[in-house]
Symmetry: C2
Subunit: 240 residues, 2 copies
């Protein structure tokens, strides 16, 4: 019983140069975990057509669904839609429903619906639009690739409308035990526990803060009774 | 005149599940930018031997240097060193100098230097150790791959000793102009500016906060005079 898989592509020079700190990956990771979809890989790549196209191709073929973040605005560096279309060999052009949505939005604002803004209505043929309640310009879904905005408020709003359409798996249950002993002291018995409960994932995450050190041991699995049993054994091994 | 390139591999289920939020990528991105090394790609992957080995192979071949974060502690889920050795077809075993460092450290602490802790002295043959002033267990460099810890304080300390050994390029200079107009309004003239200054990177990063919206335009390049010239033209195009 394995869960559906997913990957993410975060597009933008500003993140790779350290100017901006991405928050969409962490948000997506948490949301997918809740519905039982396994995020297996995330790639951060530059605003480079070849990198975008080849990464979309590779991850779309390897995983159940793919989510992209960034590069769908009106400026010259917003090239994601064209690159995703190229990855699938699909024509792209201004789409009537997206055009009308944007037109009405800028009319309401009293802003000019100029050529740059019209670019945001460029959607690969056959794609399904993703609603954007924040700033109207839509994302889209083509094959298993969900193309979404980089601005966190917009990314999160788009994801909210996409999540109910995904087929989740059994939600991953997890329990954590905080152990104030060095990882090196607990590693032996912990490794044996991991072999005994090979159907679960047992991770050890060390911490060091204010002179206190230890590790958080996280036991994850889809079967609650197994997770409980492993957690009880763990607590016996390392009493507080 | 292109800068040296780099890539990063962040290893750990806990990040992909959303349990932990990575900070090492953002830190590395900023440090590399300062010394003129272009971080071109970052991949987040699971604690999976095949994924680690194949990703190390791919990125080591594609970029000037590679940095990994995570998976070098004493517990059963710390498999990075073995996977990196496998990627290069190099034998791995307990190394005497690393063993002695760790042995002395645990003796000083009055802790047992047990089998789990001895695992942290496993280093691929021929690798160079990376000093760990925080918790002693070393990282290592093999070929162009720098294997470092996931705990941020340790990652940052290891990076500090690695950075002076890297050959940097011309530091990337950048200037930012904050423009309180929608991206769609400025996109046309901005696109023309980007063509005129094709030797520079001109990025537009929209913001929306507390009812104020606009874009930060960032002009980046290695030639300060060109960056200045483009920034002056930008300020003329969009007076405050």
């Amino acid at each position: 019983m394995t869960n559906p898989t997913a990957a993410m592509i975060v597009i933008g020079d500003e993140i790779l140069s350290g100017r901006t700190r991405d928050s969409n990956m962490h948000y997506l990771a948490q949301e997918l975990t809740k519905i039982g979809v396994d995020l297996r890989e995330v790639r951060f790549i530059a605003d480079d057509p070849e990198a975008i196209t080849s990464t979309v191709k590779a991850l779309s073929a390897a995983y159940g669904s793919v989510f992209t973040s960034g590069g769908i605005g009106p400026t010259h560096d917003d090239i994601t839609a064209d690159c995703v279309a190229a990855a699938f060999g699909t024509p792209i052009g201004v789409r009537e429903d997206a055009y009308q949505l944007l037109h009405a939005h800028y009319d309401r604002q009293g802003s000019e619906f100029n050529e740059a803004r019209q670019r945001m209505a460029r959607i690969p043929d056959g794609a399904k639009l993703i609603d954007n309640p924040v700033s109207v310009a839509p994302g889209f879904i083509i094959a298993n690739v969900h193309v979404m905005a980089g601005v966190p408020a917009v990314f999160e709003a788009m994801l909210a409308s996409v999540l109910p359409t995904l087929t989740g798996g059994a939600p991953l249950l997890s329990q954590t035990l905080r152990i104030q002993r060095g990882e090196g002291e607990i590693a032996g018995p912990l490794g044996k526990l991991a072999v005994e409960y090979a159907d679960l994932s047992i991770g050890s995450y060390p911490f060091q803060k204010d002179g206190i050190y230890g590790a958080n041991i996280v036991i994850r699995g889809q079967d609650g009774a197994r997770v409980d049993a492993a957690m009880m054994r763990l607590a016996e091994l390392f009493p507080a």
